[in-house]
Symmetry: C2
Subunit: 391 residues, 2 copies
């Protein structure tokens, strides 16, 4: 007697992972250099060198303190460093107690979702969205509600969000810079969204929270602005991860930030702690917390990502592909010629060109390209992009 | 609209933590050296020196590989190392694929519990038990069923286990070496338990699993035997953590091992992966996985724990306290003079002697002592133990 739905979830691979594994098999047949894999969103730039130096320094200190339990919400020094950094950058006042460290953004999101998953709770995601949101919501007591994409520029169709809201809506998931589009929601977009949510919260008599999933916050190009959402809409909870910004996705270090301005912030903080405790959270990895305490000022070297972004955008649009130029993250959404992204992705596979159809991101008719790849692979892949377009 | 039960869980501190925090406050008043804190089970022996050397070596290698995502179940080399180690020590055949790395034993337990939490599922814990079991079971869809302790020797009252079993029993939680008693379940005890579960599994027509929670497996004294439970009862799943054995509780690294012999092992493995995915597990901390890949042979320095065990057992029994001598872990259960452990603990607090009443471990009338403390504190505390006995 084993939970069938969890067996199913454990056996079901994401389309991205399937394509990636197909690529590995294909590499064994045709050679690694002849497979053009744009499937995974895995940082291709190493962690800043300072990370290794900080770890070496920490290893000189007391082992029991370094590897010991921290409080569930985090080591005081790590909470303090994050609070100071957020305060300085946002102009808001964030206290150490507003920060709850987690094993990455995924459990941060799950803790917030579960904290808000009262009876009949609905959670709204704006397409295109990270496919795992659907898993996180539906396996933690919520109903997943999808807002169709605004495919013109991948901002937010505010009227479509309004149609998705009901008295059961507990939160809207906002992911900007966005995976998979690379688009940053503009201040205008977020202001309109905030105004809508304020109006509907008042109408329903309870807050509709924004859950701001921001692992790509530091990955922006051309000095684009990433607006601080709690400054625009008070009922905003931030979920963050250092996976992308410090190129350490395997280390599982991130946090939930619940500013004091959030309605019932203390209760929500307690519920996030309770939800985390319920799924076995004890603390975030202790040494990495100490790294973060000294590394909040570090930024990744974005030059390689930026170059790839230009190369791919310029080459593809020149060939006749249609795409919105990303301003952040390391993804790009491209319109599937012919309109059927699955069929196009299958044709591309024959050229050993691995493109993820964006259907699972709630955005049919498009495919996603990860631009965190080897620049030489981009050059080798361009003829394949051209051929599959002419098929 | 926030989940009230999770708010409650997040706000509610364990009795252990409350006592510990009381100790910190009291230390500020009477001086740290005059507070005798036996509350927390925090390793007091540093990680083996090799851990720091391994990390330094790893930092010389490729940063992207070191800090990058691993597969959800773990890096192949880490799975292989654990499988080899278990195979060699148990005589069983454990494959790398039987190992699923987790962020410590707590999420390992939760994943297994959730995988088995079908409708009306019941999970049996044998007192004295780790209090958090109750949280893990009841907040993940199961009913918590308690078997009263065998207070003579803290082995298992098999007849009491039989009375606790029903057709809804999905698993029995077995924690040996035991927190809080320090007792190791003997081969005889486990054989009797296995025979009972085999008989009842046949009667009910479905397996009753043993979930073996074994973070203290390597902390044993006088060469005591810790029987390999899957060798005695085939439907045994192991949950392990390196928190205590390598003195790195903050690093959150452990695993689930589901041997091939377990009924529906592949399905159960998938459900554990699915459950983990549902609560936001992506992978266990990647650098620590690489440490484990090279550290399965390391053992903690047990001499200090062993000395404390002798000192406390000898001193307390000489004073007239009654306790069962622990063979493993770093805990000891002591009978509360007068029979009311809460009242006794309150009296002890007046002497700044912090003893955890074992009621929350399902074992009223006893208190728990953590023996992972400074030996000098033990010496300073003995007069207080004597005074509170004479009160």
């Amino acid at each position: 007697m084993i939970s069938e739905s969890l067996v199913h979830l454990g056996e079901k691979k994401s389309g991205i992972r399937e394509l990636f594994e197909y690529g590995l098999r294909q590499a064994a047949v045709v050679g690694k250099e002849n497979v053009y894999d744009y499937s995974l969103g895995n940082p291709s730039v190493p962690a800043p060198e300072e990370v290794a130096s900080i770890i070496r320094e920490l290893l000189e200190g007391d082992s029991l303190a370094l590897h010991g339990y921290t409080p569930a919400g985090g080591a005081k020094e790590a909470q303090q460093a994050v609070a100071d950094d957020l305060t300085q950058r946002s102009g808001d006042t964030i206290r150490p107690e507003n920060i709850f460290f987690t094993c990455g953004a995924a459990p941060a999101l799950v803790a917030v979702l579960r904290a808000l998953a009262v009876e009949d709770a609905e959670f709204v995601a704006i397409a295109p969205y990270f496919p795992e949101y659907q898993v996180f919501v539906s396996y933690n007591g919520g109903k997943f509600v999808e807002v169709p994409p605004d495919t013109k520029n991948f901002q937010v169709d505010i009227a479509a969000v309004e149609r998705a809201l009901t008295p059961h809506t507990q939160a809207v998931l906002v992911n900007s810079p966005n995976n998979p589009s690379g688009v940053i929601y503009s201040r205008e977009t977020l202001t309109a969204l905030g105004a809508l949510l304020e109006r509907k919260s008042a109408e329903y008599g309870h807050p509709i929270y924004i859950i701001a999933d921001e692992p790509y916050r530091e990955l922006v190009y051309d000095n684009a602005e990433v607006p601080y959402i709690p400054g625009i809409y008070r009922d905003t909870v931030i979920c963050y991860s250092y996976s992308k910004s410090l190129s350490m996705p395997g280390e599982r270090i991130g946090y939930v930030c619940i500013p004091d301005s959030v309605t019932d912030s203390a209760k929500l903080h307690a519920a996030v702690a309770g939800a985390s405790r319920a799924f076995g959270h004890v603390c975030a990895p202790s040494m990495m917390q100490r790294v973060i305490a000294r590394a909040t000022g570090l930024r990744p070297d974005l030059e390689a990502y930026d170059k790839n972004r230009h190369t791919l955008y310029n080459a593809l649009t020149e060939m006749g592909y249609e795409c919105v130029k990303p301003e952040g993250a390391f993804y790009m959404m491209v319109k599937a010629p012919g309109g059927d992204a699955h069929a196009f992705s299958e044709r591309a596979k024959k050229e050993n060109l691995l493109l993820v159809p964006a259907d699972s991101f709630g955005c049919p008719g498009f495919f996603r390209i990860s631009t965190c790849v080897d620049p030489a692979m981009i050059q080798r892949s361009l003829p394949a992009f051209r051929r599959v377009l002419q098929d």
